[in-house]
Amino acid sequence: MPLKPDFEPVLFKNRRGDRPATFDEYRQGGGYEALLATVGKKSPEEVVRMVTAAGLTGRGGAGFPTGRKWAGVPASAPYPRYVQPNTDEMEPGTFKDRILVNADPHLVIEGIILCAYAVKAQRGIFFIRPSYESDAQLIERELAVARAAGFLGSGILGSDFSFELSVHRSAGRYICGEATAQVNAIQGLRPNPVKAPGAHLTEAGLWGRPTVVNNVETLASVPHILTRGPEWYKSLAATPTGDGTKLYCVSGKVARPGCYELPMGTRLSDIIYEHAGGMLPGGTFKACLPGGASTAFMPETLFDIPMDFPSLKAVGHHLGTASMIVFDKNTCLLAATINIIRFFVRESCGWCTPCREGLPVILDILERIEAGEAGEADVAWLETMTRQLHHAYCAFAPGAAAPIEGLLRHFRDEVMDHLDGRGCPFGAPELADKPGAWHLPKGGRP
């Protein structure tokens, strides 16, 4: 299904490919108009209402309605309040935030300011991963420009709304992407997720004050919603269940991997064949991870599914960050799963037992299956353990469970082909390295 003829990119409006859009370019394209039209003119409650009406869902992976999150800051909550734009983006296969920030930094900045206005925040902390050092510098540079233009600082646009935005560089751990862990990280504590019964970050986050944590892609949509209205934004989607546009990252065995802004709900087949140039020569589509490493493998049978949160949920999958990692028929999905679980083993924060102790045990079993050292009882045990991962402390371990579940649900035969001394049918039947030592995945490569 081709794009609607009148579709034009929203978030990537100013994308140039070779360099970021400058402040002036952004202004020329109607940038900061939303801010000008909002600060002092619309009430914060109205902004929240519009965002709610637009049905904007969080783009960080969970798909939580942004309007509801903002409304979660109690009117009586103490000050200062914080906005925490999340650019930690360490989900394997995901790079949309980097592309977005690199394409149009001011769009992101404007979105953050509008969010701060809506929740009456005084300070924003732009949390960014260490690999994106250049983007951190870019943001810092553009922040100075925005500040000079009076869009940041005290008394923005002559109103009594003051907002400071600064960059917080992380030192790199996947778990820092989790909102509560990120709050800890910014405070200079160990970035463990925190789950106190009944407590929300919007009530008590950074230093016990209300804090709104949003993905930058989510925030970047806000200026557009405010300028062109919620209805327009909602109509951008390709499906009635979607909202606006989405940055889809496509990587893996496709001809043109990259980040594409498409209407929310574009079909998977369209994304791969229309936009990402189809499979690499010689490869046939086998499966894809629809939203980064912490989602389940989607088999060929779901090739035509509209890619939005509710549609995927309906078939037991998860859109996540909408970062499609595409595998072809020459790849051993078990070996791929081992790679993914190795990532999760390494990045676990070490807080709860299923994640810290369970994942290495699961990895050990997977490696033994890959090496042909396992039997059916091990697969059964693996299945049990994977199910138990859902009772872990935060969403990290369930995320790790997803690819294994997808593997066992859709590619069970492939797993069974490894058992009882047979080893990997795709690659070298070498013995998998023992866990614990540093090792590289072997076998199963295309």
């Binding site: 390494r346 990045e347 614990g436 030592a437 540093w438």
Partner: protein
């Protein structure tokens, strides 16, 4: 037949059966009287007892000659007659051992529970049963008397090779162990 008769007859049969049941054993025992006795004439003839028979208790050594006993108190806890007592201590190299170890064979019932409880295979029962003494105090055995210079029934086992504590070799050098964790390491 009348029901009473049936009952009576059944009763009679039961009685007969009971009576036979009473008598049959007599035949059995009588038969025994004419069977060859199995007695072994002990001091002159001696049976070779199986290795697992439960006689005198010993403390064995690991393959490298160290005392296996780590004074974990499990044998004394398992002993139903409380005939084992000891005191644990730390050797200079950090190894746990029994500074003294006493078995009162006057009390011992040779049940073998201590051997079952022993996690290091240190305490073992031997087939030796000929150690009666004229004075009861001589039945109180101290460690030097209990300690032997071999590994007993499982000579190859060395608890410390599996335990993971630093008595034998550094951390990570035991059976099926990873390198010790280095909290400062660069690899993720």
């Amino acid at each position: 037949m009348l029901p009473e008769m049936v009952k009576l007859r059944r009763k009679g049969e039961e009685l007969l059966e009971d009576g036979l049941g009473l008598l049959r054993p007599f035949a059995t025992t009588l038969g025994m009287l004419f069977t060859r006795p199995i007695t072994v004439q002990y001091p002159e003839e001696k049976r070779v007892l199986p290795a697992r028979s439960r006689g005198r208790i010993i403390l064995t050594r690991s393959p490298d000659g160290d005392e296996r006993c780590v004074a974990c108190f499990l044998c004394s806890a398992a002993c139903p007659v409380s005939c084992i007592s000891m005191e644990a201590a730390t050797r200079e190299d950090g190894r746990r051992y029994a500074s003294w170890f006493r078995i009162n064979f006057g009390r011992c019932i040779f049940c073998g529970l201590c051997e079952e409880a022993c996690p290091t295979l240190a305490i073992q029962l031997t087939p030796d049963y000929e150690f009666s003494k004229a004075t009861i105090m001589e039945l109180v055995y101290e460690k030097p008397a209990l300690l032997v210079d071999h590994g007993g029934k499982d000579p190859d086992y060395d608890f410390y090779r599996h335990a993971g504590v630093t008595e034998k070799g550094e951390k990570g050098s035991h059976v099926n162990e990873q390198e010790p964790v280095d909290v400062k390491r660069l690899l993720p």
